[in-house]
Amino acid sequence: MSLITEATAPPAVGFRVTRSQRNVAWTGVVALAVVVVLALFPYIVYSGTTAILVQAFIVLTLASMWNLLAGYAGLVSVGQQGFLGLGAYFVLIMALHGLSPFAALPIAAIACGVAALPLWWLVSRLRSGYFAIATWVLAATIMLIIERFTSIGGGSGLPLPGLAGLSPTLLTAYTYWAGLAVTVLAMLTVYLLLRSRLGLVLTAIRDDEVAARSSGARVGLARMLVFVVAGIGCGAAGAVLAISQLQVQPEAVFTVTWTAEMAFATIIGGLGTIEGPIIGTAVYMVLQQTLASYNAWYLIILGLVAIVVALFARRGLWGMVDSRLHLRLFPVGYWLRSPNGDGKRGSRRE
């Protein structure tokens, strides 16, 4: 009896797995240049512009974090404003005790990371939709607890002390640089995280959780880590917010509108890509600046655009670019190159 002769695939000779396309080295150089130019802004542009940019930095940091949570770890959180508020309040508390808010910033961020641990323990067992609202309830609870303490302003908040000594120009510059530093660090962290083994685990989870689990990936641990990192990032953004506003008010920092903004910036730009939040933040800022005087309108339009994008252009604006040009500025995937040189990346579903 002859053996099975049905054709199976020929052995894969000549295939290589590479990390990225050629354009990466250029991206690194360009990114560095951009950061340097941005850092020089306080010397070149008006303070009005730097103020807008600080807002953009905050939103970009938040969007990157939300992207990490939802796009990579599959955690849809509608309560990240809780960490934003915590970060702001940690800075406030330390400033009330004499520490400079700028020095307090990194401490506040770390503190938020620590706070993330018990919060994760509370909500980690819930399923997707319920997890989302639970994080919202947590944020609301944190706000209510904080409002009980009149020493930190109770329901109406307090101005942020410790910055009166600085001249306005210097204050604007320092605030701007703090915002820039936080954003750069946040994006660098996300990039390195996704390139690491954790990143591989996360992508595996995103693509097929059951398969990831069965191949040994510590799904729970990976998700917790992401939750903590996101807590730190959002906390840092909150600290920058406090500094830029020079006051901390509970209703302002704990509003769920922050989640809406970071979620929609991510969706519109492109979930699951590092470049996405950048584009999304840009769109958001444009909308906000053009419609700023129409109070609720930019949120209405933002919501509508997000709905349309989520339904019809799932991969967002960057996704549309990516699928046409196969362009990745921040390479975190792998390319399979056939012997004849054409790369083929595995297809990705939501």
Binding site: A70, G74, V76, V78, L122, V123, R125, L126, R127, S128, G129, Y130, A132, I133, A134, W136, V137, L138, A140, T141, L144, I145, E147, R148, V256, T257, T259, A260, A263, F264, I267, L271, N295, A296, W297, L299, I300, L302, G303, L304, A306, I307, A310, L311, R314, E350
Partner: protein, 291 residues
């Protein structure tokens, strides 16, 4: 005695919360989706009722009869169009889309109606009145009526789900929608019916809330959605009567919190929620099968 009064108030408020929650529980049970705009649609119902009363001067209870079916219809249409499209694309998309809806509705209301609160006057002296049960125990008729309505609604839902053709289909689709398709059922239509029920009941809750308290654009999320969710979790995911029990526990916790410190009312409720989350994640009446 003030405590007894508080507890009774809490129990009765549970009825209102059950109205908020049963729709949410139903939608999650059937479609595995949380509609983040759930509460906002209740507020819309309230505003429509206010509008109708303002324009036509009909008695308040008439507005209920008009608005609830309209909202149920809106629920069906919304489900068949927007939400089904989102569901087809995954859980994440559904959460984003409903969050977007919530944002649009709230800010739309804010834009056109301002942030002022509005109330729906109960209109009938009977309903505004109250009776005393003992020293310091005063029970408002309105709250009693709301509680009774909630119980009636839950009974109706239970009967519908267990005894009727569509009730059976809803439960079948919730168990296995593909198998239901193989039996000839269009699950999209069944989802629509479940949505209609959910929105009808929450609309009732919204109008009731407008009568009992007052409505403002953010009440949809701040109050209705979050309280509904808390009630569902405390009472047990997947249990219809659990939403009443959860609502009662929430109401009582809030009233006790208010007795301790007037501004701790909402916080007390959330703390109990967190305790339940820690101690018994399935809630107080966890059952594998739905009623």
């Amino acid at each position: 005695m003030a405590w007894v009064n508080a507890i009774i108030q809490g129990i009765l408020t549970g009825g209102l919360y059950a109205l908020f929650a049963c729709g949410l529980s139903l939608m999650f049970g059937v479609m595995k989706v949380v509609n983040l705009a759930h509460g906002d649609l209740a507020v819309v119902a309230g505003y429509i009722a206010i509008g109708i009363i303002f324009v036509t001067h009909v008695p308040v209870l008439w507005s209920v009869v008009i608005v609830v079916p309209i909202m149920a219809l809106i629920g069906y249409v919304l489900q068949r169009t927007v939400i089904q499209s989102a569901l087809d694309r995954g859980v994440l998309t559904t959460l984003i889309v409903t969050l977007g809806l919530s944002l649009v509705i709230e800010n739309g209301l804010l834009q056109f109606f301002t942030a002022n609160t509005r109330g729906i006057g109960p209109g009938m002296t009977l309903v505004t009145g109250s009776f005393t049960l003992g020293p310091q125990i005063e029970i408002g008729y309105l709250l009693l009526v709301i509680f009774a309505v909630a119980v009636a609604v839950l009974l109706g839902l239970q009967y519908f789900l267990s005894g009727s053709k569509y009730g059976r289909l809803i439960r079948a689709v919730a168990d296995d929608k593909e198998a239901a398709q193989l039996a000839g059922a269009d699950y999209r239509h069944v989802f629509g019916i479940a949505s209609a029920l959910a929105l009808g009941t929450v609309a009732l809750g919204g109008i009731a809330y407008g009568m009992y308290s007052s409505l403002d654009p953010t009440a949809g999320t701040d109050t209705i959605l979050l309280f509904a969710f808390v009630a569902v979790v405390i009472g047990g995911l997947g249990s219809l009567w659990g939403t009443l029990i959860g609502g009662i526990v929430l109401g009582v916790a809030q009233q006790i919190g208010a007795q301790i410190n007037i501004s701790d009312e909402v916080l007390a409720g959330y703390i109990v929620f967190l305790a339940v989350l820690v101690l018994r994640p399935q809630g107080l009446t966890f059952r594998r099968a739905q009623t």
